[in-house]
């Protein structure tokens, strides 16, 4: 019987670049920036790293395929490097690979890196690529990410009989909150607070998503060094340790896109991964036990439905929770304390690790007062890659012991 990952792996150190339009920085610069911070935090040397996992999503305009970019840039001495690509869950997949490498006993210390250099595309939004294969290009709409996620709102409104105006109001609160939090964060991409009026009045990108309902795309890199609890305790005898409590991934079965039972008002993958993650971590009541969350707010509506998919809000209850401030920085479960994808930024391959970076540092109490979560014990991160009807979801839970 599988035991799961709980308490078998410790995050020894993490690093993360400033996200944004890093016109000045090459992917190599971004990698070195995050890696140096991570290495210093871990208190080890480069030669101690025995294996690595590298996450990028869109290799074509980025760093290319395979693990070579990581080996060549850091001149890692012929260690195993595996590239992970699983849409927006790629970064968490790199982390999962490193954790499993350590938990299996194959390695003492492993590195997970996530990087994406998107601003060399030449245009806003994700690059137009046949992400679902050549056949999809022949028969699927020429859809964009906002267009696919926007449909959650139309289905959600119809499913729960909540007027679109109310859904829009809750969505605006989601974006408003991320801007509030992002403004306080020196590493965030977007650092200007906006009013709800500005959000509601913004030009439409994909009905009903306006400009402020969509995260931008950014350049950035984040990384983690993981090890066993025994080694961590030796290296950091007097410090709090952050342990991995759960790592779950769920991938669409085709039921959403081709079968008629899915309600379209949330993600079956998230519902599945969350349930398994709570089991793995031994969490009975997530609404009471989870201290903070970093979820995949690629669009405001995604964050809204995710609150329900994660079992924090009741079905149909997310708008009320959101509007009551439940997820605000000073609310019961702060969500996106770093600004989220919306404001911290979304370099696809790095985002999962960036979320872990935020939770990890909050758990260790490292952030200044004005953006610190009060005494967090357990934090959850969530990625949702692809599109609502065919996607990859990852859920990670880490905790301070």
């Amino acid at each position: 019987m599988a035991e799961g990952i709980k308490d078998k792996v410790v995050i020894l150190g993490m690093g993360c670049t400033r996200f944004g339009e890093r016109w000045d920085a090459s992917p190599e610069d971004l990698l070195i920036e995050a890696f140096l911070e991570c290495l210093e935090d871990a208190g080890i040397e480069k030669k101690d790293i025995q294996a690595a996992w590298l996450s990028t999503h869109i290799d074509e305009i980025n760093v290319g395929k395979g693990g070579n970019f990581l080996g060549l840039t850091l001149h890692l001495p012929f260690i195993p490097i595996t590239r992970t690509e699983n849409f927006c869950a790629s970064g968490t997949e790199a982390f999962r690979g490193a954790c499993y490498g350590v938990a299996s006993g194959a390695y003492d210390i492993a590195l997970a890196v996530g990087i994406e250099k998107l601003k060399d595309t030449g245009y806003g939004g994700l690059p137009d690529s046949p992400a679902f294969g050549q056949m999809a290009q022949m028969i699927m709409p020429n859809a964009t990410a906002p267009g696919m996620f926007a449909q959650l709102a139309s289905a959600y409104s119809a499913r729960y009989g909540i007027p679109m105006e109310k859904v829009k109001e809750a969505m605006a609160h989601v974006s408003w909150k991320s801007h509030q939090n992002g403004a306080k964060n020196p590493r965030a991409h977007l650092r200007r607070p906006v009013t709800k009026e500005q959000i509601m009045a913004a030009p439409m990108i994909a009905y009903p998503l306006g400009l402020f309902d969509c995260c931008g795309v950014s350049d950035g890199c984040a990384c983690a060094i993981v090890t066993t609890p025994e080694i961590a305790r030796k290296l950091k005898p007097n410090e709090d340790l952050v342990k991995v409590k759960a790592l779950q991934v769920s991938v669409s079965s085709g039921e959403e896109v081709w079968y008629n039972k899915w309600d379209g008002a949330g993600m079956l993958t998230t519902r599945t991964a969350a349930k398994k993650a709570y089991e793995e971590a031994g969490i009975k009541d997530p609404r009471k036990e989870i201290s903070m969350m970093e979820v995949h707010d690629c669009f405001s509506i995604t964050e809204l439905v995710t609150m329900e998919d994660l079992g924090i809000s009741e079905p149909g209850g997310a708008p009320e929770d959101i509007l009551s401030g439940f997820f605000d920085l000073n609310g019961e479960i702060p969500c996106q304390s770093d600004g989220g994808l919306k404001c911290f930024g979304h370099p696809i391959g790095a985002s999962g690790l960036r979320m872990l970076y935020e939770v990890y540092n909050q758990l260790l109490g490292r952030w200044p007062e004005d953006r610190a979560v009060k005494n967090p014990k357990l934090g959850l991160t969530h990625n949702l890659g692809g599109v609502p009807n065919q996607n990859v979801c990852s859920v990670a839970i880490i905790g301070r012991d």
């Binding site: 137009d128 139309s154 081709w258």
Partner: protein, 486 residues
């Protein structure tokens, strides 16, 4: 008895008021004011002669099984492909048997009637039966030209066979003249014409009466014996003169649809014929005449079977289903007459992998899905593993075409980010009637027409055009059905 078994028509939804064209281009050619009356039917940005032909053919085969189709003839002077048989794309969209006779007819505006004659001959000879003949055109005049005002887009179709014919084939007359009133070279996009007066006096006023008289002589009738004589021409003076010469009363003449559609080229005589058949009664003698590089005149006699024909939209139905295209420049962009910036996103290369297209051609052209023999679940596109999570049977499928099933909107959006020459791109989840779900483009609508639960029908459209390689790709889209049309 050989003849027409069924008919169908198609007029695209968008109509451009000719004064809107003149308002933009009248400065160039003020004399065009006389051509600037009424409106012209304009193919949507995702329509062309092939898609319009499919729409007309689907209207035509209402009440017939697709397995009955024994041939597909496609006539047009604006076919998207010079090499790659356009008729096969039409046949694929109809999901017809593939071991049938298919052919393209082109070169002159009489190609539509030539295709009908070829079908009548093939059926008479016993070589083929139940041939769908479809004609469509989407001809372009240069900005500011008379043709730009006079031409319209549309399609029509007839089913030619030897059982239960609604109009019996009774005779023909044909002529072929290298009389060049209009022409397009192999590399030309725009129609070019000689002087109107010469076309009218030497062309139309000569060849059309000749064909009508020629057919009358062959079958021993006079023009007055016919209930309807259908011939295309937008020259009002020429029509008056022909009617006078032949002694035709105004009620014997089918309206040329110039005020509502415009001249649809090869399709036009067939479009007028399809419209006339909507009102025809058993015993009516109808003469169908084409004009362009010569003439064909075909004599039909309507039978009792016309009363039994399944209801269809027909030309009148499509004429009633209209929206104003209130933007002349949009028309220019839709027809790729002016370069337009769809952003760098729009420059991303989209390959067409022909080996893939062949493997999946029934899915792409015909909307082939599967039905599970174990649990009965219908699904699209075709699956080998049943999508029903409680079933999951492997290789227990039978083929099912879902293009005619329609569905209901499950989710929707209107996307300004997607690169398109007709933004916003509207698309969303559709629950297919009978089972299955798919994300489809919506077309012929605005955001206001979309709502969760609203019924849609499927229409064969251009999926994307690869300008780098001149490849037009097709697939099905969903059109919301308005309540009054249901």
């Amino acid at each position: 008895m050989v003849g027409i078994r069924s008919y169908g028509g198609y007029v695209p939804r968008y109509r451009l008021n000719r004064m809107a064209i003149f308002g933009n281009m009248g400065w160039l050619n003020p004399a065009n004011l006389m051509n600037a009356q009424g409106e012209k039917a304009v193919a949507n940005f995702d329509e062309d002669s092939v898609t319009m032909s499919v729409a007309a053919a689907l209207d035509c085969i209402k009440g017939f099984e697709r397995s009955e189709i024994g041939g597909v003839y496609f006539a047009s002077t604006t076919a998207p492909y010079k090499e790659r048989l356009n008729a096969n794309i039409v046949a694929g969209a109809l999901a017809a048997n593939e071991m049938i006779r298919t052919a393209d007819f082109s070169g002159g505006l009489k190609a539509g009637t030539s295709a009908i004659l070829a079908a009548l001959d093939a059926v008479s000879a016993g070589s083929a039966n139940n041939i769908v003949v479809t004609a469509a055109d989407c001809r372009l005049g240069k900005m500011g030209s008379p043709q730009e005002l006079l031409f319209g887009d549309g399609a029509a179709a007839v089913l030619v066979g030897d059982e239960d014919v609604i109009a019996e084939y009774k005779g023909f007359f044909s002529s072929g003249y290298d009389f060049v009133d209009h022409f397009r070279g192999a590399n030309s996009i725009f129609d070019r014409q000689w002087e109107d007066r010469w076309i009218r006096d030497v062309g139309i006023n000569t060849f059309i009466p000749e064909a009508i008289k020629g057919l009358c002589e062959k079958v021993g009738l006079s023009p007055g014996d016919f209930s309807k004589i259908i011939y295309p021409t937008y020259y009002g003076g020429a029509r008056k003169k022909i009617n006078k010469v032949l002694g035709l009363e105004p009620d014997k003449i089918e309206d040329n649809l110039q005020a509502a559609v415009g001249d649809t080229g090869t399709a036009h005589p067939l479009l007028m014929f399809a419209k006339a058949l909507e009102q025809a009664n058993p015993g009516d003698k109808i003469m169908l005449v084409s004009y362009g590089s010569g003439c064909d005149a075909i004599y039909f006699e309507v039978t009792e079977n016309i009363k039994k024909l399944a209801p269809r939209k027909g030309v009148s139905g499509y004429l009633g289903r209209r929206s104003d295209l209130d933007n002349y420049t949009k028309y220019l962009v839709w027809r790729r007459m002016v370069p337009v910036d769809t952003g760098l996103r729009g420059e991303e290369d989209k390959w067409t992998r022909w080996s893939l297209v062949w493997r999946k051609h029934k899915v792409i052209l015909g909307m082939l899905g599967s039905k599970c023999k174990k649990c009965g679940t219908q699904q699209f596109p075709e699956q080998r593993v049943c999508v029903n999570p409680d079933c999951g049977a492997i290789d227990e499928m039978e083929p099912v075409y879902v293009s005619d099933k329609g569905g209901k909107i499950f989710s929707f959006t209107s996307d300004m980010l997607a690169a398109s020459i007709n933004p916003p791109a509207m698309y969303g989840g559709v629950d297919i009637n009978g089972g299955g779900r798919f994300v489809m483009d919506f077309t012929d609508c605005t955001l206001d027409d979309l709502a969760v639960g609203k019924p849609v029908e499927f229409t064969f459209r251009i999926k994307f055009y690869d300008s780098k390689r001149d490849i037009t790709n097709y697939f099905w889209k969903a059109v919301p059905i308005s309540e009054e049309a249901e």
